[in-house]
């Protein structure tokens, strides 16, 4: 027993280190390829993400939607589903949440704000539950449906901002009118960091406890491990598919409306910076563990936030940060694959 567990413990320690090393090597090779000195550019990324109060607050602003979308991916994954629909749920939440704001524009904040959040959560949940229902009822692959509905949701948003909801005073700019201040979440530290971040972290912690301690977590574990055995134990696969997908969708929908009201201030076609997809990758990196999701969301948020700083300080296009994000995942994928092949 102990002989068998010793190499496993060693693997558990060394694997993240090897992963980190591989990612740094890949990034270094990339920086050399674009003609930059690797170490100084890496240092600039760190400075642009954490260097001062402003940089840190921008990192946290990016982290919030990524974290929410990671939760939206990881929760369905607990029943063995692969949902890539956080991006679409985010857009649809933003869409209907905005609809509520436009209808209830004059109402006081204590009605407007909760109403907006609830509408967005329900919208995200419905968008996600549509795929869940197809999966539970007809066995339609949820990865395909969630992926395709991403485009539908984003295009619906584009349609309303170019068409019916376009602000007539915007002089042709495709966006709705600005949200009233009453529709904004409270912010902190005299920055753009908003309540959504604490909501996301609280959600991650709550889900962690629920998965570890509750009957619900146990039921999800059984279904994921063997759906047929779960059926024999009287656990309803379809119901848990609906519940996890709906909760996930609600979280992503909330991410969408907060991004719209607090960060952009109005609905326009590019509200997401790919937070839904970054969230998927974070959930995958964290292996759907709700505690690990928190620091990994911060890491990816920092990478994405560093883009603007890089453009200003180092004179490289901000999309370099997207390439670094991609290299992070490729590196981890390679190292994990190598460990897995060695094990077998």
């Amino acid at each position: 027993m102990s002989e068998a567990s010793r190499p496993r413990a060693w693997v558990a320690l060394s694997q993240p280190l090897v992963c980190g090393g591989a990612v740094l090597l890949l990034c270094g090779a990339f920086f050399l390829a674009i003609g930059r000195e690797p170490l100084s550019l890496l240092w600039l990324i760190a400075v642009s993400a954490f260097g001062d109060g402003y940089a840190l607050s921008e990192t946290l602003v990016k982290t919030a939607p990524i974290l929410l979308c990671a939760l939206a991916t990881a929760l369905p994954a607990r029943v063995g589903l692969i949902s890539v629909g956080a991006e679409g749920q985010l857009y649809f939440g933003a869409l209907l949440g905005t609809g509520f704001v436009l209808m209830a524009f004059e109402l006081p904040g204590y009605v407007l704000l909760p109403g907006m959040l609830v509408t967005a959560a329900l919208a995200g949940a419905a968008w996600s539950a549509a795929c869940a229902g197809l999966r539970a009822g007809l066995g339609v692959n949820e990865t395909i449906t969630t992926l395709l509905l991403n485009y539908v949701a984003a295009l619906l948003v584009t349609w309303v901002v170019f068409g019916p909801w376009k602000d007539p005073l915007s002089q042709g700019w495709p966006a709705t009118r600005d949200f009233p201040d009453a529709a904004r979440l409270p912010t902190f530290f005299d920055s753009r960091v908003h309540l959504g971040l604490w909501l996301a972290i609280g959600g991650a912690l709550a889900l962690h406890v629920l998965m570890r301690r509750s009957r619900w977590g146990l039921e999800l574990d059984v279904i994921r491990s063997n759906p047929r055995a779960a059926q024999g134990a009287g656990l309803n696969f379809g119901r848990h598919v609906m519940i996890t997908m709906a909760i996930g969708g609600a979280l992503a929908g909330i991410a969408g409306i907060i991004e719209t009201s607090n960060i952009q201030g109005r609905l326009q076609s590019n509200i997401s910076f790919g937070a839904g997809f970054s969230g998927f990758l974070v959930a995958w990196l964290a292996r759907n563990d709700f505690l690990r999701i928190i620091p990994l969301s911060l890491l990816v948020g920092a990478l994405l936030a560093s883009g603007d700083g890089l453009q200003m300080l180092a004179g490289v296009p901000s999309s370099v940060s997207l390439v670094v994000q991609a290299l992070l995942f490729v590196g981890v994928l390679l190292v994990n694959g190598w460990y897995a092949s060695r094990r077998s």
Partner: protein, 497 residues
């Protein structure tokens, strides 16, 4: 071709499959390679077929040492093998399957008559343009056999060929095997059934624990001697079934059950099980047995009919109720059907109770789980171990422990010993029959007529989703059951219902 396997050793991880096994095959002769599950028969033949590579040992063809690294090498040397799991493409026709397997016909149009010629001789009743999925299991086996013969196999290995056949189909296969040997081929039949030996073998080699412990003329081998050779000294105790009390009342009623699933449909299944009765369900697999088991245990909704236990409705049409405490279900292959492999043994034992737990379940002490594991002889009896760490036999014991510990009135066991060795199977049977002796009604689905005849009180035969007939075991004959299984005895069987 004269084939000699000499001192073959093969190990898979910690398991020694072949431990210095030696055997010879002679041209024009049928060798029965006899042994229990896990004795190493299949491995030894897979080494000859190049499917597994031996760790050490020699293969000699006509006295010449050869190296066989892959099935392709083996085919080149004239060695063919028909596996238990068929390698046919169900959507393609018989002809396409035969052409697919034949390297001499790279194009569909070429070699048409060649490919079909063999099959026409083996089984003239199989139409070449029929998709394979419409064939019966026996017919598929003939197609597999034709595939191997098309490659000019002079050594032919058949892995448990009669295990999936009805008695009538088996008889035909035995005749075919005799004819093939008559053409001068060496035929090896891997089997654990003594009747295969008496029916068509010239010689018999008995394997136990990775070695060939005996080779002799089949005529000179008595059933008793072969059994002793197969089992060795530690022959497990025969599971005991209590005689059924003549006045035992009916405890479980299946009334007009109808259900369907991917595996087929069942209609109008009416059965009554008395207190303490072990009712065997015989039939060639795929005649609705799995659907019946799933339907009466609430895994599959009933389309019609109901299940009554002690006079109360347990399952009714449209509202399946899985995990009832008065019903226990022991399926085949626990890892696929009844176990959450990543979770620990304690959780797996509690699986049926999860629904009734409070939202935040209290931490359970391991003592109760450990005691239950000990009682059902699950090894190791460590509640914290993940279920995936257990062997197949121990997993099946684990499932039995879970399903029987609540003392259900109705137990359904569907091929419960499939894939288990004799000792583990005997243990499962013993628990099951013990439970019946305490007053439960047991519905026991099996493909093994001999086991059913030996242990059940009554046998019902399923054919195409219906009960084709029922017989008291004491009055049943293999022939009669075989006829029912082949769907040819409905009229005769009615007399026994």
């Amino acid at each position: 071709m004269h084939v000699e396997l000499r001192d073959i050793r093969k190990r898979f991880g910690a398991v020694v499959a072949n431990d210095g096994a030696s055997v010879t095959l002679e041209p024009g002769s049928v060798l029965a390679l006899l042994g229990e599950n896990g004795a190493g028969k299949s491995t030894l033949m897979k080494v000859l077929y190049g499917y597994d590579r031996a760790d050490s040992g020699d293969i000699l063809l006509d006295g010449r040492k050869v190296s066989i690294g892959s099935p392709r090498d083996a085919m080149g040397l004239g060695i063919g093998m028909v596996f238990q799991q068929f390698s046919l493409v169900p959507a393609l026709t018989v002809r396409e399957n035969l052409l697919l397997a034949d390297p001499r016909t790279p194009w569909r149009l070429a070699g048409r008559r060649d490919a079909l010629g063999r099959l026409a001789v083996l089984a003239p009743d199989i139409a070449p343009e029929v998709p394979v999925r419409r064939l019966s299991v026996g017919q598929m086996q003939m197609v597999e056999l034709a595939k191997a013969l098309n490659l000019d196999a002079r050594v032919l290995i058949l892995d448990e060929p009669t295990s999936v056949l009805t008695p009538e189909e088996a008889k035909r296969l035995w005749a075919t095997i005799r004819a093939l040997a008559g053409e001068g081929r060496s035929v090896v039949m891997i089997t654990h059934k003594l009747e295969d030996v008496t029916a068509c073998a010239d010689r018999v080699a008995v394997m136990r624990a990775g070695r060939v412990v005996d080779q002799r003329e089949a005529r000179a081998a008595s059933a008793e001697a072969l059994t002793r050779l197969m089992m060795g000294e530690e022959r497990p105790r025969e599971p005991h079934v209590n005689p059924l009390a003549p006045e035992a009342p009916v405890r479980v009623r299946l009334r007009g059950i109808a259900a369907r699933a991917e595996g087929g449909a069942i209609r109008k299944v009416d059965l009554e099980l008395r207190r303490g009765e072990v009712l065997g369900i015989a039939g060639v697999s795929g005649n609705g047995q799995q659907v019946l088991a799933d339907a009466v245990t609430g895994l599959l909704p009933l389309e019609d009919g109901q299940v009554e236990i002690d006079g109360r409705t347990a399952q009714a049409a449209g509202s399946p109720q899985p995990a009832r405490p008065d019903t226990g279900y022991i399926p085949e292959r626990p890892l696929a059907n009844a176990i959450a492999p990543e979770l620990d043994l304690e959780t797996n034992l509690a699986l049926k109770r999860i629904r009734d737990m409070p939202f935040f379940p209290p931490r359970e002490t391991k003592a109760a789980a450990r005691a239950l594991l000990k009682r059902f002889d699950v090894r190791p009896a460590d509640p914290a171990l993940p279920a995936a760490a257990l062997s197949g036999g121990n997993l099946q014991k684990l499932v039995s422990a879970r399903e029987l510990c609540a003392d259900p009135a109705f137990v359904v066991a569907c091929y419960p010993t499939m894939g288990l060795d004799v000792a583990a199977a005997a243990m499962i049977y013993e628990r099951l029959f013990e439970h019946a002796a305490r007053g439960a009604s047991v519905l026991w689905i099996s493909e093994d007529i001999d086991d059913l005849l030996r242990h059940s009180h009554r046998i019902a035969v399923m054919y195409k989703g219906r009960i084709a007939g029922q017989v008291e075991t004491a009055a049943a004959s293999r022939h009669q059951l075989g006829m029912l299984m082949a769907g040819e005895g409905a009229g005769e069987a009615l007399a026994h219902v």
